[in-house]
């Protein structure tokens, strides 16, 4: 494993940094936290033109043939920029699930449109049961001639309010194990019977309640195999978590830099506060914390891109990164003092996103448990 990106990836990363500094200033980020859509269309279009929305897809689906390392280089910059919008839900959760499981026809139909910025998709997995286990899926889909009828409520669905399609994970059969009998349906959001309510969240990201009231969807819209969505879905989630960790790495790194910059500049007691040993300790601990995030994430990404087993590495990366990002941003608030506590500041953006990133797709507890299982316990 390399501890650094190759030259091309460095260029991508540098280009992304400059692009986001210009096109995604923190004023826009804050505006999007209040905005119901939460996705500035111009920015999305430009990212598509730069090839970033399709970066990870094969060329034949309008993509850039990038690998996991390319993706995490870009993701780090998205995290640094606090990029709003549906990259995770559309490009990663939905796009990758379709890429790995969709029919040739579905892939040809959808992926180029995601890459081209014409389609927004999301994945509806979690429900009121507040769990990422298979047993938590209770939304049902019953066969009726050539259709299925979906009934039930999904909760914490990202970006559903702007999605063209929702991939709904529903129970099609009561199997012996909760993992059996789950199916993924590609549902047009405008189908009668779908009601979407936006929730108000800490990070101002767009999580929704999606109610399916006898929603009719054609059998043709099943993605992957009937009753067997769970395993493939977990594989996609694994890959998405690596990208999500990289996004958090970028955010944590920036929070650390903001704290260190402030410590160098802020004068109290006739000297920079950064000269106090307690501040050295805070910064030094955070540096170790953030580098741990980085290397756990890089290792997971590298193993993944080499096709090696990496369940352990992913569990470690997600457990560590979520919590360390939160610690780092909290430290940042301590160092910034009052000036960092106003809405005009930036630290709170990281402090908010750290926590929502930690909770999304399973927190530290969830992934330590996953790791324990991987360790044979």
């Amino acid at each position: 494993m390399d501890f650094d990106y190759n030259d091309e990836q460095k260029m991508l990363k540098q280009g992304a940094r400059e692009f986001f500094e210009k096109e995604c200033p923190k004023s826009l980020v804050k505006q999007m936290m209040e905005d119901e859509k939460g996705n500035p269309p111009e920015l999305w279009k430009k990212m598509s033109q730069l090839g970033w929305l399709g970066l990870i897809y094969p060329e034949k689906y309008g993509g850039g043939d990038g690998n996991m390392i390319d993706l995490i280089a870009l993701e780090e910059e998205m995290g640094r920029a606090c990029l709003p919008g549906p990259f995770l839900s559309t490009v990663l959760l939905s796009g990758l699930f379709i890429l790995h499981n969709g029919s040739e026809e579905q892939k040809k139909e959808i992926l180029p449109k995601i890459a081209g910025g014409q389609l927004i998709l999301t994945l509806a997995l979690t429900e009121q049961s507040d769990s990422y286990e298979a047993s938590a899926v209770s939304v049902e889909a019953k066969a009726e001639k050539d259709d299925y009828i979906i009934d039930g409520t999904k909760l914490f669905v990202p970006d559903a309010q702007i999605a063209d399609y929702i991939i709904c994970i529903a129970r099609t059969k009561k199997g012996d194990k909760p993992e059996d009998g789950l199916t993924a349906f590609l549902v047009d959001r405008k189908t009668p019977g779908i009601t979407i309510t936006l929730l108000k969240t800490l990070a101002g990201d767009k999580l929704c309640e999606v109610v399916f009231n006898k929603v009719k969807v054609s059998k043709k819209n099943i993605i992957g195999k009937l009753d067997q969505a769970w395993g493939p879905l977990q594989q996609t989630l694994q890959q998405v978590k690596i990208a999500q960790c990289a996004e958090m790495v970028g955010g944590a790194q920036r929070a650390l830099e903001l704290a260190a910059d402030h410590a160098k500049k802020r004068i109290q007691f006739d000297r920079p506060i950064g000269s106090f040993p307690v501040i050295h300790h805070l910064i030094a601990n955070a540096m170790m914390d953030v580098d741990a995030c980085k290397f756990l994430t890089y290792e997971a990404a590298w193993k993944f891109s080499e096709g090696m087993p990496c369940a352990k590495e992913i569990a470690m990366a997600k457990a560590w990164t979520g919590e360390a990002y939160q610690r780092t941003a909290a430290m940042g608030h301590q160092v910034l003092g009052g000036i960092g506590y106003t809405l005009d500041g930036e630290m709170h953006l990281y402090f908010r996103r750290a926590k929502s990133g930690e909770l999304t797709l399973g927190d530290g507890k969830f992934h330590r448990e996953a790791l324990a299982k991987e360790l044979g316990m």
């Binding site: 047993s135 909760l155 108000k200 999580l207 006739d270 000297r271 009052g338 506590y341 926590k355 507890k365």
Partner: protein, 317 residues
């Protein structure tokens, strides 16, 4: 907002009353104590852009002019200044004296000509203010205590406030709410309260709440006995502020995806208290005395450790 009055302080006569009793002239007692009893409100004007933890470097100038002072300068984070009538102001009356010696306590009228109050919004959505003074006249009779004694008066006021911070009710309220939540909420078919890790977390947090309560009671005991609380008051303050942040942070994990829902959102649990606490409690680690700094006070005053050499001998410009 829910937390503002108790948390951010300032909007009472609670600190001012006892200080005027102790340091005021008979005329001042006659003027201010009835006003305070009738509910006159004060905003606390200590902090400035360049004077936070290092409060003694404050620069707002009170220059003598006949029987008045003329105030010029800026205060920062004066919570409640947009509602309060009076500003409890630490101002520099003598710029020639060493930092700590040239400061006096002055009561300014926030409605006087030349005062501008502008809004700052905190990350938790509360309002605080910047206050600008442009040639504002205040009678010298509004100075509390002798000229140049402002620093000592401020310190005793801050210590009182710190003791108060230790009796902050929210840690206990929030832990009780989380315990109730754990009992009533099932995840993966089992009540959260049966999850061994959640049990450990909540047991630890309620233990911490007990320690906080005992620190607070000991502090009161020491005050009653007239003992030195310069090291024990920060105990409560530090312990409480860090506990409050732990409760909010760990509470969000206990509540899982629901933890991030704001007050007023559909599906928000515990009235969004935990999410609000996550944002609000940040301020407590540096507001009302910086925890990092206060730890030095504890070790030096409580256990007699030597002071950090550089700080004991300030480098002077």
């Amino acid at each position: 907002m829910l937390w503002a009055p108790g948390l951010l302080g300032g909007l009472t006569g609670g600190v001012q009353g006892p200080i005027i009793m102790q340091h005021g002239t008979p005329e001042q007692k006659k003027e201010w104590l009835p006003k305070i009893a009738a509910g006159a409100q004060f905003a606390l004007g200590y902090t400035e852009p360049n004077a936070g933890t290092d409060l003694a470097s404050l620069q707002i100038r009170a220059a003598k002019d006949g029987n008045d002072y003329i105030l010029n300068g800026q205060k920062m984070f004066s919570t409640g200044a947009h509602n309060a009538r009076y500003h409890w102001l630490a101002a520099r009356t003598n710029p020639e004296m060493p930092k700590h010696k040239g400061v006096s306590m002055i009561i300014a009228d926030l409605t006087a000509p030349g005062v501008t109050v502008t809004k700052l919004t905190t990350i938790a959505g509360d309002r605080t203010n910047e206050v600008f003074y442009d040639n504002v006249r205040v009678p010298q009779t509004n100075r509390i205590g002798p000229e140049g004694e402002g620093w000592n008066i401020t310190r005793s006021a801050l210590a009182a406030e710190r003791g108060d911070l230790g009796t902050f009710p929210w840690p206990k309220i929030l832990v009780d709410e989380l315990i109730q939540y754990a009992k009533e909420t099932k995840r993966n078919g089992k009540p959260l309260s049966e999850d061994p890790q959640i049990r450990q977390t909540l047991a630890q947090l309620s233990m911490d709440v007990s320690v906080l309560r005992l620190f607070g009671r000991r502090l009161n005991y020491m005050i009653e006995k007239n003992q030195d609380i310069s090291w024990s008051a920060p105990f409560s303050k530090i312990f409480e502020s860090e506990l409050s942040q732990r409760i909010a942070n760990q509470g969000m994990n206990i509540m899982g995806l629901y933890g991030q829902l704001e007050q007023g959102s559909k599906y928000a649990k515990l009235k969004g208290h935990i999410e609000l606490a996550y944002l609000t409690m940040v301020v407590r680690s540096f507001g009302g005395g910086s925890n990092l700094r206060l730890r030095s006070d504890i070790a030096t005053r409580g256990m007699g450790l030597p002071r950090e050499p550089q700080l004991a001998m300030p480098v002077k410009k």
